[in-house]
């Protein structure tokens, strides 16, 4: 696949945008151990990556933006970021997969945002079980206990915790996708007459 110079520059800059959010906001959220920081970061990332997809209207653009972001994060922070790196790559792959199945529209962007943000719930299972060698039970128990602490409910109310966590992730992803579509369309509509006028 050949990309034009403009497309590559736009991909690089949207990668830098997502990277600056990951490095700046990510550092703050993780340092203060704020709840739903993974969902918030994935939502912000999807805001940027999906907006970028409107301006680089080619298949694979989100994956490219994700790869640039993951490499930026690795170069800036070093080895400490292997889990976020995998998360960024997985989120961009999932969002791209949705947009491969459905042409870009508000609905497709919303679903892409939801799928990508929902990944943050599954991500600990991948890194914990496959990479660190934890058992599925350990990861699930840790997730439920942190959910119970956050919601101030008993950790035995597993179904309630899972439903609330999924609902929050759905909402964050849906808002990110929809907002990215509406913001990018607004910009495109405003910029197009100006570009036409210049010519």
């Amino acid at each position: 696949m050949r990309w034009s110079t403009r497309e590559l520059v736009t991909i690089g800059l949207f990668g830098a945008l997502w990277g600056s959010v990951e490095i700046g906001l990510g550092g703050i959220l993780h340092a203060f151990r704020l709840p739903f920081s993974g969902a918030a970061l994935a939502g912000c990332g999807m805001l940027v990556a999906l907006s970028g997809r409107v301006f680089v209207d080619r298949r694979g653009a989100i994956i490219f933006i994700g790869v640039v972001t993951a490499l930026l994060k690795m170069l800036s922070v070093g080895g400490l970021v292997f889990r976020p790196m995998l998360g960024i790559l997985a989120e961009s792959l999932l969002a791209e997969a949705v947009l491969l199945a459905a042409p870009p529209s508000r609905g497709a962007f919303t679903v892409a945002g939801i799928v990508a943000v929902l990944w943050t719930l599954i991500h600990p299972f991948l890194t914990g079980v496959l990479l660190a060698g934890q058992t599925f039970f350990t990861v699930a128990t840790t997730l439920l206990q942190s959910g119970a602490r956050l919601l101030r409910v008993d950790s035995h109310a597993g179904m309630v915790i899972v439903v609330v966590l999924v609902a929050v992730h759905l909402a964050v992803g849906g808002i990110a996708g929809s907002l990215a579509w509406s913001a990018a369309r607004t910009i495109r509509e405003r910029l197009e007459p100006a570009e036409g006028g210049d010519r």
Partner: protein, 244 residues
């Protein structure tokens, strides 16, 4: 553009690792990422030792991850719950076998995480942006090296635009009421600023007759020391996995 890209974190490349090129470092990274999940017991100690040697060869930046409290927080966050839960499986809590099992489980997870952290740290410290981009280009992701170079150069500018946009909206009363609308306005401002910056970068690239379509000479990615490194790593991997 090229000069700008090369001036950036190539400084990360220390004098000790000049002999080994990106392919050798990639082989080291793969060893540190693939071996920990495959190994268990004493094999993991050997994998961690090899990872430490790889990281030490990359210089201070390679092993700096061990001096960062966040690394140990990550290791504890992964190892402690697994160790605690391991005691609940067999013998009663407090019994010697249960405590030993917990210790072993925790130690194994800690070694796996540390090996991966060291491998990634060594890779980040040894491979320059240009080398990384060239690796990706050879892997079929054409243009990624250029995009990555643009991103590295633009990161401070973009971060400043994000910050300026946020403060401009906040000082005008944004993010107090109708937060979603404020977020949308912020996104519009940031994306417009990014697109404008993209125009400048494209103009600069075209003024220097740069074209992404034109084949470019990529930096050398491998030489004989890389082959030696790969053979040594394969030998180490086979020996560790065969050891019982």
């Amino acid at each position: 553009m090229k000069g700008g890209v090369d001036r950036q974190p190539t400084a990360l490349q220390s004098a000790q690792v000049r002999a080994v090129l990106p392919v050798g470092h990639l082989a080291c990274l793969l060893f540190c990422l693939v071996m920990p999940p495959l190994a268990s017991g004493w094999q993991l100690a050997a994998v961690a030792a090899v990872s430490l040697v790889i990281a030490a060869h990359a210089g201070w930046r390679g092993v700096a991850v061990l001096a960062d409290w966040r690394s140990w927080a990550l290791v504890a966050a992964l190892a402690v719950p697994a160790a605690v839960l391991a005691t609940r499986g067999g013998a009663p809590a407090g019994a010697e076998p249960a405590a030993r099992e917990a210790l072993e489980t925790g130690a194994q997870i800690a070694l796996r995480v540390l090996s991966m952290l060291l491998g990634l740290s060594a890779f980040a410290a040894s491979v320059s942006v240009a080398g990384l981009g060239a690796l990706m280009e050879r892997a079929g992701l054409r243009g990624l090296g250029f995009a990555l170079g643009v991103a590295v150069n633009a990161l401070p500018t973009v971060a400043e635009k994000v910050s300026n946009g946020y403060h401009a909206i906040r000082l005008r009363g944004g993010f107090q009421k109708r937060r979603l609308e404020a977020l949308r306005l912020w996104l519009v401002a940031v994306v417009v600023a990014t697109l404008r910056h993209a125009d400048d970068v494209v103009s600069a690239a075209e003024a220097r007759a740069f074209s992404a379509d034109r084949p470019r000479r990529l930096p050398t990615l491998a030489s004989w020391p890389d082959l030696v490194v790969i053979v040594l790593l394969v030998g180490a991997a086979v020996s560790i996995l065969l050891y019982r």
